[in-house]
Each structure stands twice: as structure tokens, then as C-alpha cells.
């Protein structure tokens, strides 16, 4: 989807914690993972074809934030790095308190990022906390210079990306709650209990609803109600519906009045746990009713590059483009009824949301191959081999340049080279 670059509506100096600055100061808000609930992060405009690469101190698993002036990148060393997209020059680095892998959210002159790692703190039936004893944080950094505006402590990990709407930052955490914060101050507005923890699934917002995906602990996630998609009102946190589908590694895609999620069914014990399958479900965005469901064949889940077993898809032009990591396949589903339009076999599993632009699909896999695939037929048009794996960090296209992370390297690649 082509998006015009938004013009700043107002500008004002940021205030310190406790006061409330205007929120519309950035050129382009970046309100959620991959810009919008379709996850097709295409920013139209005159940004020229640009080539550079930049090594960061840690692996990059989260998506990019982009506000028209800077690229914001989280890494495993605990940094959020603001980069000049024209040159690859580091403009500032802000420090978190743990691994940073949530997609930076940009609104009102602030950059929001959460910290956390995949550590199991408590895992009992009915009581699971992912995180660490001292908790984690959501941070708000000033977009201009990276200084800290506020922080908010979470009891569980704060890895999944938040979503921003109407001055409220909404996110799920490792201690089985969804939280709404006043984005300007970091003050808690509401807390809602969830049926499980949120590990990696970013929040998506459409209209008045926020969509999150939860998973119960290691003991219970195999059960029929081990995973849930939850729709709640982001203004007050009230739950609208909950449906037992998806997986908390996979951010929901919302389009055509449907919520698309990928689920994971794996083995229960020992090495068998690596063998399993993915499924894809489309739910009515207003009610949670199942519109269609697809179950993939049995395959193998892997950990090189990143551990994710379920991956967020991307919607574009009536089609859901979805990786099935257990099978190292990309599948195009007709969004309205789940009909499989094509399947493309990749060298390794794709663990990122793809981009679709001008008839091509762009994605990288866990064995370091970046693909240009016909979005119409699934034919592989080009493959480029890199020496490091691609992770769950999805690409971004701005004007004539594609930005993508390859393990710990951020690359700007002119589209005409692809």
C-alpha cells in the first residue's frame, strides 16, 4: 500500500516527564509494527536509491521504526539506534536495560521501545510469567536526540511491539496483561488480564480495537485453548472478544474486516518438539468468529537466525502473504476465503513479514538468502546469498530504497539492484 509522507501538523518542544507535549511533531508517525496492520511497510516519496551498510553491536530481531527523518533500530546489545537513512550514519544511541527487540514506535516526537528476553520466570499450570526477576521496561526516547523522556516498568518482559492511537500506547507483556499508557507521560491508563503471556506478537490497532495474541506456558501451550487472539478497546482496555487461535510469536494482520494469525502446533516431548506444523486462521475482526482456517503439512521448527515458529504475515491487494516456517514455504492466500493462490519453496525458513511492492514480494530467510518473488505467481525472480541469516526483522521500503537487517547489519539496498 502506498502511503504519502505526512506533513507535520504541529511542532513543539518536548517537555519532561509529568507534562504532556503535543504528540504530532514528527513528519511521519510510525504507530505499530510495520507501519500499519497490513504490515506492508512501503513509504512512498522521493527518497532516492541509496546503498550503505552499518554493523550494530547486537543482532536485530525487531522491525524498523521510521519517521521520515530517521530510521530507528533495536538490537540485542540493548541499544535503540537512530540512523540517517541517506547515509547510514548513526545519529544517536539510546540504552535500554535488556535486549531490545520491539519495533520502535514513533509518535509525538517520541520513540517508544520495550526491553526483554525469552526467559521463563514462572511456568505452572495457570500461572506463567516470561521475564526476569527485576522486570523490564517500556522507554520513551526523544526522537531528536535519544534522551529519555520516561520509562515504565513491567513485571514480565516487554518484547512485543506496542501500538499507538489517540495518545495511548497499548502493549502486552510477559506477565499476562495488556497495558494502556498515556504516551506523553508514561502514566498507566488501564491494565487488562490476558489468557496468557505475549512473547513476540506485536499489537495491531484498527479503529477502536487493539488486537493481541497470547500463549500459555510451556506446559499448557499445546492445549486447545493454549493460544488466544484478544480484541480489546485501546481507550479503556475492555475486552471485546477472545478466540483460541494464533501464537504469541506472530503479530496479527488486520485487513478486509479480518484478523489473520498464524498458529503453531509442535510435538510435546524431547526431540519431537521440533517437528510440527503451522496453521493460518482468519477471524472476523468484530466478533472473533472463524472465517477460514488452513493447516500446513508437518515440518521442522528451527532456531538459527531466530527462534520464532509463527511469523506475522503481510496483506496486500486482497492477498495474505504468509510464511510457514515449519515447511520453509511462503504461501499466498486469497484473503477473503483462504484459497491458496501459490506456494513458493525457499532454501530456508522465512521468519520475517514480507513486503509487496510493484508486483514483487521481498523477504529474507534463515540461511541468508534474500528473495525477489513474483507476488502474482510465486516464481522466484532473484535470490541473493548473504553470509549471515536473516532474522525476524522485516524490511522497509522508502522511495527507491529497501532497508533490511541481516543479523547485526543494517543494509540500504537500491530497489533497482533487486
Amino acid at each position: 500500500m502506498m502511503r504519502p509522507v505526512l506533513v507535520a501538523l504541529a511542532s513543539a518542544a518536548l517537555c519532561a516527564c509529568g507534562s504532556r507535549p503535543p504528540l504530532e511533531t514528527t513528519v511521519l508517525p510510525w504507530p505499530m509494527y510495520q507501519m500499519d496492520p497490513s504490515h506492508n511497510a512501503i513509504v512512498a516519496g522521493s527518497f532516492p536509491a541509496t546503498a550503505w551498510s552499518l554493523n550494530l553491536n547486537g543482532k536485530i530481531n525487531g522491525g524498523f521504526g521510521y519517521d521520515g527523518r530517521r530510521l530507528y533500530v533495536p538490537d540485542f546489545s540493548g541499544d535503540v539506534v537512530a540512523i540517517d537513512p541517506s547515509t547510514g550514519r548513526v545519529l544517536w544511541k539510546a540504552r535500554g536495560d535488556d535486549v531490545m527487540m520491539s519495533t520502535p514506535i514513533v509518535a509525538g516526537g517520541l520513540v517508544f521501545a520495550g526491553s526483554g528476553t525469552n526467559a521463563v520466570l514462572v511456568d505452572r499450570p495457570g500461572d506463567t510469567v516470561w521475564g526476569r526477576p527485576q522486570g523490564n521496561h517500556w522507554f520513551a526516547f526523544r526522537a531528536d536526540d535519544g534522551t529519555l523522556a520516561w520509562s515504565f516498568r513491567t513485571a514480565g518482559q516487554a518484547m512485543p511491539s506496542a501500538a499507538y492511537a489517540g495518545g495511548v500506547l497499548t502493549f502486552g507483556t510477559g506477565d499476562n496483561v495488556a497495558v494502556g499508557l498515556d504516551a506523553a507521560t508514561g502514566k498507566r491508563l488501564w491494565t487488562t488480564d490476558l489468557p496468557g503471556h505475549v512473547s513476540m506478537a506485536s499489537t495491531a490497532i484498527v479503529g477502536d480495537l487493539a488486537y493481541l495474541v497470547t500463549t500459555k506456558g510451556e506446559i499448557e501451550h499445546h492445549l486447545p485453548d493454549g493460544n488466544h487472539v484478544v480484541a480489546l478497546r485501546w481507550r479503556d482496555g475492555s475486552t471485546v472478544w477472545s478466540a483460541p487461535y494464533g501464537n504469541s510469536d506472530c503479530a496479527p494482520v488486520v485487513a478486509e474486516g479480518l484478523v489473520f494469525v498464524e498458529g503453531v502446533t509442535d510435538g510435546v516431548l524431547g526431540p519431537r518438539e521440533a517437528i510440527g506444523y503451522n496453521d493460518v486462521t482468519a477471524l472476523d475482526a468484530r466478533t472473533g468468529a472463524v472465517r477460514w482456517h488452513y493447516r500446513g503439512a508437518q515440518g521442522v521448527f528451527t532456531t538459527v537466525g531466530t527462534n520464532e515458529r509463527g511469523i506475522a504475515g503481510t496483506y496486500h491487494g486482497g492477498v495474505l502473504y504468509q510464511s510457514l516456517p515449519a515447511l520453509s514455504e511462503l504461501v499466498a492466500f486469497r484473503a477473503r476465503d483462504g484459497r491458496v493462490l501459490w506456494t513458493a519453496r525457499t532454501a530456508g525458513p522465512v521468519k520475517m513479514s514480507p513486503l509487496i511492492y510493484r508486483g514483487n514480494l521481498y523477504a529474507g530467510d534463515g540461511v541468508g538468502v534474500f528473495y525477489v518473488i513474483s507476488a502474482r505467481s510465486g516464481a522466484i525472480l532473484k535470490s541473493l546469498a548473504y553470509r549471515k541469516p536473516f532474522t525476524s526483522a522485516p524490511p522497509l521500503i522508502v522511495g527507491a530504497t529497501l532497508f533490511v537487517a541481516n543479523t547485526n547489519t543494517v543494509m540500504a539496498v537500491p530497489l533497482d539492484r533487486l
Binding site: 526431540p271 528451527t302 538459527v304 530456508g348 548473504y386
Partner: protein
């Protein structure tokens, strides 16, 4: 030689007790493993040659060639360990005392010393670039030197029934008299990434376009199975072909470009089965106890039913498996996994 024999099925030491260990190394395990009944030998990307206690995984001794990289499978013969070392200005073949790692001799090579050598009689047969040569094993003195015209790089040499076989890129496989260096035949098949496997009087080779079986005596093509165009990948290994392994009338062969492992009836190339893996397999497999064991470049080790191709178990690890192939000691699989060397007992796969 590479993988102990020309079949490349390195299944050894039937009475070796089951072991499970993982030992982090200072650099990636690049080549294959050698075993002499007492120690495992391997090379690391930083130029180390290691002798390892197979029961515990701990290093017994370490020899380092400063400034070099090592990617070749060590070769063990008598009381000596032979290894090749690559690197600009540091390419060399060296012999070490197996007992304690003391260097016995060095023979200057070039920067492309990546393939393993083969021991035959009293000589070490080596290949690198377009050169194939024989060194006297006792002191490293060159005995003869031959060329593979136009070759950019070569596979490891293997010896079977008094003939040396080596493949090269661009597509070429040659048979050479190991006593004189005279070429017996040359055929336009194979590639440097695939060390030939030899069994049933056939030489099995692979390149990006086909798996082929050549007559051991003449080089004539006995069968050839075309490979659909695949995808190149570089994680784990840049190799576009892998050496096959032969056991019980069957060639077990990875086809990296298509992330597939196939079982070919050795006699005629009939495809008994093929199985898709999560990512390309760039190593030779090991066949033991009715199962094929291989690791792929997305870090999964597979236990595959050698008769049906059914995946019986898949163990994911955090690092890609490379072209470094496994060996089986008793019921324990020993394999390099990035910067780890792992022993995985069969019960772990249950």
C-alpha cells in the same frame, strides 16, 4: 582420507560407549573429523588442529599455525596426523605427532589448501587449485605433481583400488595413478564441493546440474540424474554441492540447491526416496543402525529412515551446520556445529 574411506560413511568403533557432550571451540569447526581409536582430530577456522578425547570432548592437545585458516579434514596414519592450512602466505601441508601434536614437517602450499588429503602407501596425496601432488609421508618431500587443466579448486582426493579420484570446478573428475601422477581418465562431471564417493566400481559425483555415476575404470557415465536449478546460499558454507555417502547399495546424496536429500540406487540411479529438509544440507551423511544422520544449514540434525526417507527425529541447534561431516562412534554421533563440537548419543534422538 576424508570420512575414513571412499564410501564416506564414517561409522567406526562399534564398542564405543554412548557419550553426550558439547564443547565450545575458539573458532568454527571447518573440516571433517578423523579418529584413530584414541582421539578425534579436527581443524578450526583460526588455524588450530585439535586432538580431542572422544569420551569427554576435552582437548588433549592443540597445534596452531599462526595466521592460517584450516578447513581440511585431518588425516591419521600410523603415528602422524596430516592437515592442510590455508591463508595468504600460510598455505601449507603439515604433519604432527599424533601423541602430542609436535610438528614433524611442513610442505609449502598455496592459499587454497582447503581440501583434505588422502594417505596411500607411504605417501600423502594432496590437491589444491589446479594441482594434484604426492608427498612422502615421512618427510613431506614432493614425489610427483600433476595438473587438472583449468581447475579453479578441487575436492578432497580419495583412493580406491589403487586409483586416486579427485573432482574440480568447473565440472571435472579425474582418475590418477597414485604412484606416478599419470592421468588415467578425465570426465566433465562433478565439482570441487563434492568429494567423489566410490563404491560398486562407480565414482559418484555432484555438481549444480546433476548427480552422476562414472565407471571407476574408464570415467564413462553409467547414470546421470539432472538436478532442477536451485538456490545458492552462503550461511554455514558456500558450497553448491556436497559429497555423498554410500551404504548397502545406496548413494545418500544431498542436493543443496533444492534443500533435499535423496537416496539413489547406486547401480542405476533410481531414486528410492527424497526428503526435503528445512534448509540445504552441505555435509556428507552417516548411515548407522538403519538411519541416515545429517545436519542442515539452519541448524537441524536429522535422523532419517534410510529405507523410506521418513524423518524420525529432528534436533534444532542454534548454529548452522556447515560442510563438516559427522562420524559415528558406536551409537554416538560426533559433529561440528559452528563453533561447537558435539557428541549426540542415539538415545537423544529417540
Amino acid at each position: 582420507m576424508y570420512q575414513a574411506s571412499a564410501t564416506h560413511n564414517a561409522v567406526l568403533a562399534a564398542n564405543f560407549p554412548a557419550a553426550d557432550w558439547a564443547r565450545k571451540q575458539v573458532a568454527a569447526v571447518r573440516g571433517g573429523l578423523a579418529y584413530d581409536g584414541r582421539r578425534i582430530y579436527t581443524t578450526l577456522a583460526n588455524g588450530d588442529l585439535l586432538a580431542i578425547d572422544p569420551a569427554s570432548g576435552h582437548a588433549v592437545w592443540r597445534a596452531r599455525v599462526a595466521g592460517a585458516a584450516a578447513g581440511a579434514t585431518p588425516i591419521v596414519a600410523g603415528d602422524a596426523v596430516f592437515a592442510g592450512f590455508a591463508g595468504a602466505g600460510n598455505g601449507s601441508w603439515r604433519a604432527f605427532r599424533a601423541q602430542d601434536g609436535t610438528q614433524l614437517w611442513a610442505h609449502a602450499g598455496d592459499a587454497r589448501v582447503d581440501p583434505s588429503s588422502a594417505y596411500f602407501g607411504d605417501r600423502l596425496l594432496i590437491a589444491a587449485g589446479e594441482t594434484v601432488a604426492a608427498l612422502r609421508a615421512a618427510d613431506g618431500v614432493a614425489l610427483w605433481r600433476a595438473q587438472i587443466p583449468a581447475a579453479r579448486e578441487t575436492s578432497s582426493p580419495v583412493v580406491r583400488d589403487g586409483t586416486l579420484f579427485v573432482s574440480a570446478t568447473p565440472a571435472r573428475t579425474v582418475a590418477i595413478d597414485p604412484d606416478t601422477g599419470r592421468t588415467r581418465w578425465s570426465a566433465p562431471y562433478g565439482s570441487a564441493g563434492c568429494t567423489p564417493a566410490v563404491a560398486q566400481r562407480l565414482v559418484f559425483v555432484e555438481d549444480r546440474t546433476a548427480v552422476a555415476a562414472l565407471d571407476e575404470r574408464t570415467g564413462a557415465v553409467r547414470w546421470r540424474v539432472a538436478i532442477p536449478e536451485g538456490i545458492r546460499s552462503s550461511v554455514g558454507s558456500k558450497a553448491t554441492a556436497a559429497a555423498g555417502a554410500y551404504d548397502g547399495g545406496v548413494l545418500f546424496q544431498s542436493i543443496p540447491g533444492n534443500s533435499t536429500v535423496a537416496a539413489f540406487r547406486a547401480a542405476d540411479g533410481h531414486v528410492e526416496w527424497s526428503v526435503r529438509t528445512s534448509a540445504p544440507v552441505k555435509m556428507s551423511g552417516a548411515i548407522a543402525g538403519g538411519d541416515l544422520y545429517v545436519g542442515d544449514t539452519i541448524g537441524v540434525v536429522y535422523r532419517i529412515d534410510e529405507r523410506t526417507g521418513g524423518v524420525r527425529a529432528a534436533l534444532p541447534f542454534d548454529q548452522p551446520y556447515s560442510a563438516s561431516p559427522p562420524l559415528v562412534l558406536g551409537t554416538t554421533l560426533v559433529v561440528g556445529d559452528g563453533i561447537y563440537l558435539r557428541a549426540i548419543s542415539q538415545k537423544t534422538f529417540q
